[in-house]
């Protein structure tokens, strides 16, 4: 069986469509981050208390809220959780904001919620499955670490690509990855899905994956440039994308299949994580074709437009 044999699509000719598409998605994400949902941060980063409770039957959110009010637990956010596949709708997440500026009274909210549940739901009708309490210091620290990890891993990859290809390849790949991250975080903002520590792991995975895809295309461009010096860069890029298209679609399709199974069957604990991957795989595949590769051509045109001698990128030879 074979898909995409001898495709001959003019990808670069569609760059304005791509640009429009990318702009719509990143701008709407950024607008949502700025004016709508912001960046919905989980308890990992904001600090606070999050308690996951499983009920025997279908829980009544109003009843829970009344129970919390009666126990003096203010500002509790009560949210029913269900699997993407629709199971386990009998679980509720009770989230309390950080209640003091210090790390004191760390456990107070949790105890109040436990007491409220114990008095209102006797006979083990409500089971506390998970409790996460993050103090403000830890929240800030985790946030800082997550940001640092992202920036450092981008720098690490940029350096590797600079070493293996040319600086412009590294820059183009990092821009593409930044584009993917922006759109994915935008998707979290638009859908108001909380970003947690595991989501950060997913974002970093997506960065790795998107890089992976971009490198496959870049590798082909480098190889083709080494073979044929008379062809224009735009043609080489187009041809390289077409040559790797079959692989790109297959791999992305199969990876998408695995993360989709994670999204559908992995349970709601992994919901945010798998959501990031599902969005990320799609956008990461798209960006290697529609963002990273056209940037190489744009860079070359810009250089020649300024009257500089055009050196084709990637004069470092592939070892193959």
């Amino acid at each position: 069986m074979e898909f995409f044999r001898n495709t001959n699509i003019d990808w670069l000719g569609k760059k304005w469509y791509f640009l429009g598409f990318s702009l719509i998605f990143s701008v709407s994400g950024v607008l949502s981050m700025l004016f709508w949902h912001g960046i919905p941060k989980g308890v990992d980063f904001t600090g606070g208390t999050q308690i996951r409770v499983a009920f025997d039957g279908t829980p009544n959110e109003d009843h829970i809220r009344q129970a919390m009010d009666k126990a003096g637990v203010r500002d509790a956010r009560i949210q029913r959780v269900s699997d993407p596949s629709g199971h386990a709708a009998n679980k509720v997440i009770i989230a309390l904001p950080i209640n003091s500026a210090t790390d004191q009274a760390h456990d107070a909210g949790r105890q109040a919620v436990e007491n409220a549940l114990a008095t209102n739901y006797r006979d083990s009708k409500a089971t506390i499955e998970q409790v996460e309490i993050v103090g403000p210091t830890a929240g800030k620290q985790l946030q800082q670490q997550a940001l640092l990890a992202t920036v450092y891993s981008l720098i690490g990859m940029l350096i590797y690509l600079w070493f293996r290809f040319e600086l412009i390849y590294g820059v183009a790949a990092v821009v593409a990855v930044f584009h993917d991250t922006l759109i994915t975080v935008g998707a979290f903002s638009l859908t108001n899905t909380e970003i947690t520590l595991t989501v950060i792991a997913a974002l970093l995975t997506l960065i790795g994956y998107s890089m992976n895809d971009t490198i496959v295309v870049f590798d082909r461009i480098r190889e083709n440039l080494g073979m044929n010096r008379r062809e224009g860069l735009a043609d080489v890029v187009n041809r390289s994308i077409n040559q790797t298209l079959s692989r790109t679609v297959l791999t992305s399709g199969l990876t998408f299949l695995t993360v989709l199974s994670l999204y559908l069957f992995g349970g709601e604990v992994l919901h945010g994580f798998s959501f990031a991957l599902v969005v990320g795989i799609l956008i990461g595949t798209y960006s290697s074709i529609a963002v990273a590769a056209p940037m190489l051509v744009a860079y070359q045109e810009w250089r020649s437009g300024r009257g500089k001698t055009v050196s084709l990128p990637a004069n470092k030879k592939a070892r193959a």
Partner: protein, 535 residues
């Protein structure tokens, strides 16, 4: 080539056996039991409590400086420099002692005291108007912080061991120097353990210089608006129905946590739970000297406050000199008295702590997560394997074998290294599957291209691998770089994910490139040049 090939096959089988051993060890009690014994599950999968706490090590530094200041005053007087006083500088410079009132003639004598062995942790400098300052060297302060955190870890470990939690993890954590990670797997009732760790049990006995007052303001008023520099205001422990009380205490304690040798829960003559304690010999002598000077029959009778976790628990007059035995009555419940004496026995924490993170996963959620995660991994993998067989026919077998082997190596590695499999780790496994498929697809697509260009099967295989190899190296190295950085800067589950991903990629290089090649070669071996390839 034939001999070479069989050598490679033997190598692959050997690797396979080694990692299968890594997964199940010596099989005992069935496959499932062996698996559970070898593969370390994270708390998110088996349930348990995860705590991150911070040791306020600066407190220990400040109180060490306080003690040195007191000793310095005594030492200066002993050296005949009367009138000189030493005190810790304000809170903004907790490591500095200011010595004032040294007569000009005695400056060199004072210097020789400062240069004595007791103060070699300090840098000495002369200030304006005849004062001198001793500042603790950065290195000494750092050492003290490290020692404080290490002692805290030991103390917490002993407390948890006494509670009988199986296989706890207690270690330094994060980028900072003063954080501790505590992981208690499979814990049914985390609440009590939290209480035991949380109670810092910083127990001190201070001399009372004033009070009780109804509030801080009253205390200030009673002392002409200034708290004397050698004193501190301490609140009483809140008691139901009783009004708040504040005492003025000597800043430096007479007895502190490390001076206790033993503590037992008992009851006083009225049957209330209390704690009897024994002091170390050295502290007992010190305590005797103090209580003898200030007993009710002496010229300067005084009273003492028992301060637990910076709250006054009890104030008692000193009836007679006490050497090394005493008791604390503080309105405890039986359980509290038992827990508190446990804490005193195992040593008090050298500084107070606060909790930064508490995460508890109930065992049922853990079990559900692992079921779902494993199911998702199997479902994803099965779908991929079926697709590879349909799409690449014969070569699909290569890919599927490589995938299975990849998984075995990955799990075996985790068994060998004792790495922890977490929920994100399972996701890492799924991603490894994705990357493994990618390597196979890259190779197969290249082979197809070569075949389309009219090359023979053997040449196509050789060229396909050679071309794809460059790309595979590039993609794998970049991902390993990001996994490495994830490991360095991530924490907890993120780290588990990074480990799984990084090793999965290494396994993948071996299976997708080396193993798959050997399968191709052995398939083509002995066939004539024009043989067709099922791909």
């Amino acid at each position: 080539m034939g001999k070479n090939l069989s050598g490679k096959t033997v190598f692959i089988v050997a690797v396979l056996l080694v990692f299968v051993y890594g997964i199940v060890g010596i099989p005992k009690g069935g496959l499932r039991a062996s698996l559970e014994r070898r593969i370390n599950l994270g708390l998110d999968l088996k349930g348990g409590t995860h705590l991150v706490l911070e040791v306020h090590a600066n407190e220990a530094v400040a109180s060490a400086v306080d003690r040195d200041a007191v000793r310095l005053t005594t030492d200066l007087q002993a050296a005949g420099i009367s009138g000189a006083t030493a005190a810790r500088s304000d809170a903004s410079k907790p490591t500095t002692i200011v010595v004032s009132g040294i007569p000009v003639a005695k400056q060199s004598d004072a210097r020789s005291v400062f240069n004595g062995v007791n103060y070699n942790a300090y840098d000495v400098a002369s200030g304006a108007d005849g004062t001198m300052t001793l500042t603790m060297k950065q290195q000494s302060a750092n050492d003290l912080v490290t020692r404080t955190v290490d002692t805290s870890i030991e103390t917490i470990r002993e407390r948890i061991d006494k509670l009988g939690v199986a296989e706890p993890t207690i270690q330094k954590y994060g980028l900072g120097e003063n954080q501790i990670l505590v992981e208690l797997p499979g814990l049914d009732d985390p609440a009590r353990v939290e209480d035991v760790i949380q109670s810092t049990a910083k127990l001190e006995i201070h001399a009372v210089t004033g009070g009780p007052y109804a509030s801080d303001q009253d205390a200030l008023q009673a002392n002409n608006g200034i708290i004397p520099p050698d004193s501190i205001l301490v609140k009483g422990a809140a008691q139901a129905g009783a009004p708040e009380q504040v005492w003025l205490l000597k800043r430096v304690s007479e007895v502190e946590g490390t001076d206790f040798r033993d503590a037992q829960p008992s009851t006083d003559q009225n049957g209330r739970p209390n704690i009897t304690f024994t002091l170390t010999t050295e502290a007992g002598d010190r305590f005797y000297k103090y209580t003898n000077e200030h007993s009710a029959t002496s010229a300067t009778p005084g009273s003492m406050a028992i301060v637990l976790d910076n709250k006054v628990r009890e104030v008692a007059g000193i009836n007679s000199a006490i050497r090394d035995r005493g008791e604390i009555v503080g309105g405890f419940t039986k359980q509290q008295a038992a827990d508190l004496s446990l804490m005193l026995r195992t040593g008090a924490l050298p500084a107070s702590i606060s909790f930064l993170e508490t995460r508890t996963v109930g065992p049922s959620l853990g079990a559900a997560s692992i079921r779902q995660g494993v199911f998702a991994a199997i479902a994803g993998m099965a779908a991929v394997m079926v697709f590879m067989l349909i799409y690449y026919r014969g070569a699909g077998i290569n890919a599927d074998l490589a995938l299975v082997l990849n998984l075995i190596i990955l799990l075996g590695f985790m068994g060998f290294t004792g790495s922890t499999l977490t929920l994100p780790g399972i996701a890492g496994v799924i991603l490894t599957i994705g990357m493994g498929v990618d390597s196979n697809v890259l190779i197969f697509e290249r082979i197809r291209e070569e075949l389309r260009a009219g090359k023979s099967a053997a040449i196509a295989v050789q060229q396909g691998f050679a071309h794809a190899w460059v790309t595979i190296i590039d993609t794998h190295v970049t991902t390993i770089v990001s996994a490495l950085i994830l490991f360095l800067f991530g924490t907890g589950p993120v780290r588990g994910f990074a480990v799984t991903l990084a090793f999965g990629l290494l396994a993948n290089l071996f299976t997708a490139v080396f193993v798959s090649r050997v399968i191709f070669d052995s398939h083509l071996q002995g066939k004539e040049r024009g043989a067709a390839l099922s791909i």
